[in-house]
């Protein structure tokens, strides 16, 4: 089980890195998907090795997949908006408001 958790942690860290560093919104979106997947791996692994009496972890993962998809849809719609407004999708541009 540990290996799965470690894998998930690494994947999560990679996603994190992406969210923090990507310069465009789609990149961020993709990194977020990685993070969700990392959580999913955790859930499934725990389900397999600890909470074996029910498939709650897997259920959770399925819902995460679905919701992540929904989120991705909205995110991509926003990406389109950004593209229309800024003619580009770099996050650096999206900082009109500050302090």
């Amino acid at each position: 089980m540990f290996y799965y958790l470690a894998l998930a942690a690494a994947l999560f860290a990679i996603g994190l890195f992406g969210v923090l560093t990507r310069r465009n919104v789609i990149g961020i979106l993709m990194s977020l998907e990685l993070m969700f997947n990392a959580a999913n791996i955790n859930f499934v692994a725990f389900n397999k090795y600890i909470a074996t009496d029910a498939l709650v972890g897997q259920m959770f993962a399925i819902f995460i997949v679905v919701v992540a998809a929904a989120e991705a849809v909205v995110g991509l719609a926003i990406v389109l908006l950004i593209y229309r407004n800024w003619r580009g999708i770099g996050m650096d541009n999206v900082n009109v408001m500050k302090w």
Binding site: I14, I26, A61, I62, V74, L76, Y83
Partner: protein, 168 residues
């Protein structure tokens, strides 16, 4: 807790996941990134299979790979003139962020092995994967299931509202 040595398949999948995941966040060409993402998600589905979550693996392939990733690819192609360009794709946080994330990646597993206190496993996992998931969806998790459908509706409407070009 006993550390179960996983098989070779796991290692292959893990390497694929990590490498492709890393590429997703580092490659400069967004289109390539999207392709790597698809690869990564496939590999995760493989992990699910290893973990005896066949239904989940199928859902992963269908929803993620089939829908989300393709959607992303489309969006990339729709929006990015920079799909093929090679701009620097990381901002100034990169160095520190890398350190931190590396720390995270090492730290969490370290923590887990070092001080993890786990409940003993409650026997074998239920074998009838697809069937029980169906049952759960109809019984215990019926309400979240319904709510998720509402959520999907909301996301749908929202996406339409946002993505639609206004006649003005």
């Amino acid at each position: 807790m006993q550390v179960l040595e996983p098989g070779i398949v796991f290692w292959i999948l893990a390497v694929v996941i990590l490498v492709s995941g890393f590429l997703v966040v580092t490659l400069r060409n967004m289109f390539h990134c999207a392709l790597c993402l698809i690869l990564c998600l496939f590999a995760v589905a493989g992990i699910y299979v290893l973990l005896e979550a066949e239904f989940l693996a199928a859902a992963q392939v269908l929803i993620y790979v089939g829908a989300v990733a393709i959607l992303i690819v489309f969006t990339v192609m729709l929006t990015t003139d920079l799909a093929s360009e090679s701009l620097i794709q990381h901002n100034e946080n990169a160095t520190i962020a890398f350190v931190v994330c590396a720390l995270f990646a090492i730290g969490v597993p370290y923590l887990i092995t070092k001080t993890g206190v786990w409940m003993p496993a409650k026997g074998e996992l239920i074998s009838d994967n697809v069937g029980s998931i169906g049952k759960y969806l109809m019984t215990d998790f019926m309400l979240p299931f319904e709510v998720v459908s509402v959520l999907l509706l909301a996301a749908l409407i929202g996406a339409i509202v946002l993505a639609r070009k206004e006649r003005s």
